[in-house]
């Protein structure tokens, strides 16, 4: 994977780059925002990590220029300022995620994984995670080479969850997304479909964690912390 890191603090840039490289990823670093849009156009990066507080044009401006040239490349913003104010502004401008300094390395790496996976999963009409692939056009799913049988509603729930990897998804949201063709569904129904999905996707190394009173979060089992 190829990552462009725009961070003007030399010490932080150095350690962040080292951490990302330790995952086997290729990292290019620039201390300024100006060259980023051109670099993104010229080279096939998988992700841009963009500090908001860059000297010269700042992270917001850089992001705007990237989006202005029509790129849908995932962008992870780093902010050292008031998290929520920057988050709202960044997300409105088309950032995919944000991370507040000081962050833990593990968190940075997890976010990078989620973002790139989500981006790849949206490539074309195929959603993929673990060894699971969902072909949205053909409405067929596989775990490895094995075809996976899903009911229409199970399909809708799984599609919705995989489309929002890395986010905690509320039951209400899932319900709204799948109840277009059947208004009589309840949140209990969502629980039923999720409980049916769990054993089916477990062989793909995926697990659906329940968040009490809220909804669900999809994780790769290998990536997930042991429970308890």
């Amino acid at each position: 994977m190829h990552i462009l890191l725009a961070e003007d603090d030399p010490a932080l840039a150095e350690s962040t780059a080292r951490a990302l490289r330790s995952q086997g990823w290729v990292v290019d670093h620039t201390p300024r925002g100006e060259p980023v849009p051109a670099s993104v156009k010229a080279d096939p990066y998988d992700l841009v990590i963009l500090d908001i507080g860059l000297a010269g044009i700042d992270g917001f401006e850089t992001l705007q220029r990237i989006r202005a040239q029509g790129s849908t490349l995932p962008v992870l913003m780093l902010t050292a300022r008031d998290a929520i104010e920057d988050r709202v502004r960044g997300l409105e401008m088309g950032a995919d995620d944000y991370l507040v300094k000081p962050f833990a390395l593990a968190e940075l790496i997890a976010r990078v994984r989620v973002l790139t996976r989500r981006h790849q999963a949206r490539q074309g009409s195929v959603l993929a995670m673990g060894s699971l692939r969902m072909d949205l056009e053909a409405r067929r799913a596989w775990i490895g080479d094995q075809a996976l049988e899903l009911s229409a509603r199970e399909w809708s729930v799984l599609e919705y969850l995989l489309g929002r990897v890395g986010h905690v998804v509320g039951k209400e949201q899932i319900l709204q997304a799948i109840s277009g063709w059947d208004d009589a569904l309840s949140e209990n129904a969502v629980e039923v479909y999720v409980s049916r999905l769990r054993p089916k996707i477990e062989p793909a190394g995926l697990r659906i964690r329940a968040v009490r009173g809220f909804g669900y979060l999809v994780e790769e089992a290998a990536n997930a912390a042991p429970a308890g």
Binding site: D9, A11, L12, E14, S15, T16, R18, A19, S22, G53, A80, R81, D82, A83, I84, E85, V100, K101, P102, F103, A104, L105, A106, A110, H167, V168, G170, R209, V211, R212, G213, F214, L217, E219, A224, A225, P226, A227, G228
Partner: protein, 458 residues
């Protein structure tokens, strides 16, 4: 010392009136009484002159005085209960007619002279007119005296009238001054109400209305102060944002370096050191975050505007995105019971509040020795307020310590974790800035801790 301008004014007006009104009434009374007395004196003198005309010196030189019954009746009838006496005295002092005792004492008067004086007749005080009239070649005296009943009753009437007029006038004047003062002070009262109704973060200039010109400099000074406070708050907020940026970036580098060093191969001898460096970096980072949060709460609650309608349910949704992965990573069960809870406030501060509560719960629930179970609740209360509650099953806080944990940098005795002792202080500051309050209670089944924030509903 009276604080109220109105009361001070009224007290002084009344004091001055208490002095002026009686003095003025007294002198007015003196004048009126003298006027009345002189009118009675003129009438009495007229009688003396009239009686004098009745003294007749005949050709024989004999003096005669004749008063017919009709005239005497006229003289004696007063209609006021007064007695009238008279005496006619010849040139040698002999009494020609009338009441003899009135001839004492003898007086020497020039021809045509008239004199008025106070005398005593039959043990009664009387007013007496003495008139010297020509009788032949000599001078006779006519004396007319009357008792003082009508003079005294007139004097009493005058006193009563003057006193009532003065008292009534004073009362009317006091009322008029009260009304005028009250009307004049009305703009001050409306300014007071305006200031009292103001929320703490409203730093706009005051509405003036019809304010007396004497108050304008005061209002200008208040407006200027408000502008300066607003400016300071904005400057402080920017400074804090800059400070946050300057602090957080190197702290991130420090933390990342420590984590990298732990991940990469390193001599076993430095492992413990690296762990300590990492832990310290984490603690300093959190401390910096929380100090900035405290300062930010202070600054932005003084800065005008910036509040919006916020549903605490949405704040909890945002918090879920941040905290559920961290809770899962630690094996904690972070759950939610969310109902609509609209408030008016600053969303990022409310997020900060909830973040601190969840962080605390995660930090301390582990010490309970069980799998941590944390529940976030939002909703409306029966009394119209809304609630934001975080409950954990950790060790809880002993009731006698609950008052102290809101103090900045207070840490529970024997508590581990990387707490700074600022989390609950931040929670309280933000709750207060939103007109709310924070209460601590036992969790369900008497275990753990339940932090309940109640806020006014929007």
């Amino acid at each position: 010392m009276l604080r109220s301008l109105k009361a001070t004014l009224m007290v002084w007006v009344v004091l001055v009136m208490l002095v002026i009104v009686p003095v003025r009434a007294y002198f007015g009374l003196l004048g009126q009484v003298a006027l009345n007395d002189s009118a009675y004196d003129v009438a009495l003198g007229d009688w003396a002159v009239a009686l004098g005309n009745l003294v007749d010196a005949g050709a024989d030189g004999e003096l005669r005085f004749e008063l017919n019954t009709q005239t005497e009746e006229l003289l004696r009838t007063t209609g006021t209960g007064d007695n009238i006496y008279y005496v006619v005295i010849g040139p040698r002092g002999q009494v020609l007619a009338g009441d003899a005792p009135l001839a004492d004492p003898p007086m020497q008067l020039q021809r045509g002279e008239r004199r008025l004086l106070d005398a005593v007749h039959q043990g009664q005080p009387v007013r007496m007119a003495v008139h010297a009239v020509e009788c032949g070649r000599a001078i006779c005296q006519v004396r007319v005296a009357e008792t003082l009943l009508k003079r005294e009753s007139t004097r009493d009437d005058t006193v009563l009238l003057t006193a009532s007029l003065s008292a009534g006038g004073a009362a009317l004047l006091a009322l008029a001054i009260w009304v005028v003062v009250t009307r004049t002070m009305r703009p001050v009262a409306s300014l007071n109400a305006q200031l009292a109704e103001r929320s703490l973060d409203d730093l706009r200039p005051l509405r003036r209305g019809k304010v007396p010109s004497e108050l304008q400099p005061l209002l200008d000074a208040v407006d200027q102060l408000l502008r300066r406070v607003a400016g300071d708050a904005a400057r402080q907020r920017h400074f804090i944002a800059d400070a946050a940026h300057q602090l957080r970036t190197p702290l991130t580098a420090l933390r990342t370096e420590a984590e990298l060093a732990l991940l990469e191969p390193h001599p076993p001898a430095v492992h413990a050191t690296l762990l300590r460096v990492h832990r310290s970096a984490q603690r300093v980072a959190r401390l910096a975050d929380q100090l900035l949060a405290l300062a930010r709460t202070e600054a932005s609650s003084r800065e005008p505007g910036g509040t919006e309608r916020v549903d605490l349910k949405a704040v909890a949704h945002d918090a879920a995105q941040d905290w559920v992965p961290r809770a899962l990573e630690r094996g904690a069960d972070l759950g939610f019971q969310l109902d609509a809870a609209p408030v008016r406030g600053r969303r990022h501060l409310l997020g900060e509040l909830l973040g601190n509560l969840i962080h605390n719960a995660l930090e301390y629930a582990h010490e309970g020795g069980r799998a941590a179970r944390i529940t976030v609740r939002t909703g409306r209360l029966d009394d119209g307020r809304v609630l934001l509650e975080v409950e954990d099953n950790g060790p809880g806080i002993a009731p006698e310590l609950r008052g102290q944990v809101f103090e900045r940098f207070y840490r529970l005795p024997g508590s581990g974790g990387s707490g700074s002792g600022l989390g609950l202080a931040i929670v309280r500051d933000i709750a207060l800035a939103h007109g709310g309050e924070v209460a601590l209670a036992d969790g369900e089944e008497g275990r753990g801790l339940r932090v309940r924030v109640t806020l006014p509903a929007a």
